[in-house]
Subunit: 658 residues, 2 copies
Amino acid sequence: VNPDLAGERQTASFSVEKLTAQLDGGAEHTRIRRAVVEAIECDPVFSREDQYFQSQNERYEAAVRKAVHLQKKMHEMGWTESGPEFKYIYRALSGDVAFLLHRIFMRSISVLGSDKQVAKWIPLATQFRLIGSYAQTELGHGTYLQGLETTAVFDTTTQEFILNTPKISAMKWWPGDMGRSATHTVAFAQLYIHEKCYGVHPFIVQIRSLQDHSLCPGIIAGDIGPKMNFEHIDNGYLMLQNVRVPRENMLNKFCEVQPDGTYVRRGSQKINYFTMTTVRISLISDEVIIPLMKACTIAIRYSVVRRQSKLKPGEQEAKILDYQTQQEKLLPPLAATYAFHFINDYLQELFNRGYQEIQRKNFDMLPELHAFSSGFKAMVTQYCTSAVEICLRACGGHGYSLLSGLPSLYTKILASCIYEGENTILLLQTARFLIKCFMAASAGQPVPPSVTYLAAVKPGKCPAKNKLDFLCPDIYTEAYQHMAVRLVSSTAAKLQDLVQSGVKKHDAWNQCTVQLAQAAKAHCHYITVKNFAETVEKLETKAGIQKIMKHLCDLFALHGMFSNAGVFLHDGYVSGAQMDMVTASYLDLLAVIRKDAVPLVDAFDFTDKSLNSALGSYDGQVYQRLYEWAQKSPTNKQMSPAYERYLKPLLHNTLSKL
Amino acid sequence: VNPDLAGERQTASFSVEKLTAQLDGGAEHTRIRRAVVEAIECDPVFSREDQYFQSQNERYEAAVRKAVHLQKKMHEMGWTESGPEFKYIYRALSGDVAFLLHRIFMRSISVLGSDKQVAKWIPLATQFRLIGSYAQTELGHGTYLQGLETTAVFDTTTQEFILNTPKISAMKWWPGDMGRSATHTVAFAQLYIHEKCYGVHPFIVQIRSLQDHSLCPGIIAGDIGPKMNFEHIDNGYLMLQNVRVPRENMLNKFCEVQPDGTYVRRGSQKINYFTMTTVRISLISDEVIIPLMKACTIAIRYSVVRRQSKLKPGEQEAKILDYQTQQEKLLPPLAATYAFHFINDYLQELFNRGYQEIQRKNFDMLPELHAFSSGFKAMVTQYCTSAVEICLRACGGHGYSLLSGLPSLYTKILASCIYEGENTILLLQTARFLIKCFMAASAGQPVPPSVTYLAAVKPGKCPAKNKLDFLCPDIYTEAYQHMAVRLVSSTAAKLQDLVQSGVKKHDAWNQCTVQLAQAAKAHCHYITVKNFAETVEKLETKAGIQKIMKHLCDLFALHGMFSNAGVFLHDGYVSGAQMDMVTASYLDLLAVIRKDAVPLVDAFDFTDKSLNSALGSYDGQVYQRLYEWAQKSPTNKQMSPAYERYLKPLLHNTLSKL
């Protein structure tokens, strides 16, 4: 181990192993997770070592190979989908595996299909007698589902639906696993019966032959080509030309087309709504927080190995993490990983409660759950994407090499801001809920517990008298609360003013959206700070964990105030002099947390294989690894044909003879 | 042309052609530029159509092919390096060409070499009898040049320098054109004579045979492997093992090692310093502003073609640019392209003046030029990188496709934050200059004209009374000036307090660096706003150009205040009520500029080939282009081998038999 890195570990103020267990939810979980990781990583089929050298085609091949091999592996290891190991598999594979949409295919049939449909399709899918996909998004339609243009016309004579792509913007575009793998898909289309449109419905459509994988008649499908990342996924396009599917292929738990064309709606569709929200919550941990934890691990380990320039004249070059500016880049993201880990626990618990209510047919929590899943998905993906970029840039030139692992973490996490609901749209959904609750609360009506704070508008001022006061969670939590209430209430007031002055409601809404999005972010930020502070309160006081978590909580909160000073200063709740105290405490905390920076990332417990980074390895042998790895690059495999073709004639002055 | 896009062009408030000429510096320049672009783009060798499908090896091959072909082309067209066409060639090629470091190789010899060395090497390089590179950065050393570890020991017996890479961190790493192409390089090494170190010096070293391109004895070199972009460049590594070069190969304009080992320094090295600063300025236009202009063109054209969701119930789906949140994403970056275009003119002029002074042996302007080049390089690259990312995300899923052109613009511009001086380091250099000037100004000493404002600390308050007042350039320029002075002066005070309280000078500096970097940014932001306002003043009042530029200037300034509200509110110079006025005016401006958004990007005058984007073409046929282009992807070229190998056995349940 690089001695500079080893030294950082000797002075940890807390037990790394205890913190790992805390993050895993107990030592037993840690044990199971490590066993899964070990089993996956010692299997060469799952290796990711060549990943940065591979073409899109090679990445796809590898992901399919891994997905198929995983079926064997699970059988071999005795892992099942309901077992405790299952949730660690995806993390252990770093998501580098195919057939993720196959699972969404199954989930949609389970949720939207009748018992008969479930009985027919789920066993086929479980046994991989078909490969499923999920075809919703179209070239011209993403966010606004009602605008989908694919049509499904019911033909009473043949008892079939005829599916069509009426124009190019109606072509399905982006569905994963569909470009090259899937044999079936759940396609969403506007249902027409006797020329009347009944809106968007899901249909099971076979797209490729189960015999030879050739495209079925009337199907045009393929891969949408190169993307910023996700080379391993065959995101595809799909055109339907008079494709007929039997009446039984419309998923009909909630509505049915009877043989004579009568349309029957039954039960509640609200549960669908709930499925969408759970997907948003479930991606936060695997797709967003873990990548940021990896980026922090890489950048922080590198920053204690890399020495550059001198802090003190005459001394050795300094570790770059000893520069305040480097601390300011890396430590707030580190604090954020913990803040988001804890808010994720909070959201999971909220959703479990919600799910129990829903099973008792009580749908009251749905608006709140929808607002929370939307707002936090947007806030966390946005924050973590920016933070991964900061980590990348904080590693200078070497961060820009794919071998650092940081570029691929960045280009992948960036997509999370777009998929499962574009972030701006989601924030506005949260804002709509907040405005509604604020109006209700102002009128004395009851609101969900998480937003009762909106009713408690206290004018007052921040009572902090010196910089130490800002290390008191009550002080900063109050400041965040005040700020969130102010942003929600002032935007509600602007909306009302506009409408009262004669602006139409939808125009008024559009004219407030910049501020509405800001208010929604403020709400989520406040809840995150509050939850972090409450979590720290509840932590065991031994093993030094509570103390370091308290520092991180303070840092997360004060960094947020320092970076968004305007919203706190705006109405004078926090004064300029107090903001100087915030800044002073914030900068002090950087120096404090810097001492534990390496132990704090060690606690994430990533193996070298899972980081797949020349800069982030546990032993800190950065330069050796970069050199050895680069030599394996295909760009070093042979003398380039460019020499014979271009360089030689140029250098030998025989170009003109070519 | 897509009718939604065509409609946007009919209502332009100004003459697009006039604005293009304005940006080019006159209609004659526009004519020459278009001729160069036309000649390059009609030549199939320069095509970039396959770029998004190519591997790193293929990109490198293509870049070499283009570089060699360019030599012929220039001859054919009668273009010379000193002709008016030359500066447009790189833009026309979108930088996708090899041998850029060959030019730096030549430039360093011209600047650092003696007349004899220039006479020997420059003709060889000009005729491409060798291919040069520039080997400065090492695996362990980037920013801090004094820390370089490569050694050059003078051997008096043979009159040679013996170059060595004493350990792995001393290996040269990153030099462009070196991984596979270069035959020679200028290598920087610590000079040792009779065991005494004389610091870093440049040496011409041959690394590959001119006959067969094999590595020379003692040379280990290769390609550093995959990067986030720049696949077309063979960034390389280089290890030197007792490589001997004759005494004449040390570039010796400013210092010489005589045969007996006597070291002689002569002349001033200050001019080197100036060369570094000019490189920083010269990259701003080609590598930073133009990419942002392209990103804006792509995202804004797409945003008037893409319709999604409804603004008004019952109406057609709305153009996404009609949503305030989309305007807030795209219009401030658009305003910034103009702000930076004008600041670039300002910097060019400043540097031309500086160059004239230097030729008269007057080096007084150097500190100012260095501070300006550092700060503006950092500010502009940082802003433009963020803005390109915003453009990418503003295009939703399609922005994430490489075919949009946006991912490659982003991954390339990101590097500009790191190369030619890491941005944080550069900002701190600017800050050091500002603090020095502030202290001098406070003591009544003279300071360079660009920073005299630091002496004029006026307490006062912003006099704006309503939102229209914030459309007055004097009002916002004053606010920026006040803010910059406050940040510089308060940080200077903190520094002084620390030192007076006994903290050592270098520790005090480190403890202020977060705020110092902020102060440097504030200074650059202020100068940019001031320069934009002054430029608008001087514009011709006809053709509507001045009016729209005034709107953009207001938007740039007010967006900056809205986004950094804290620094304006902090001391009460701007009140909360005034910040509400800023917000109101800012949001009003979005709606005003939105009307001219398409003409404003049309004025950048990019051809479809130079944008190389399915979303940004002049005719707006987005979906058709995405579909046709995706079909050409290598992922659609054949049935994947994954089918026979994995999918078929899986689907046919014969996996176990494998």
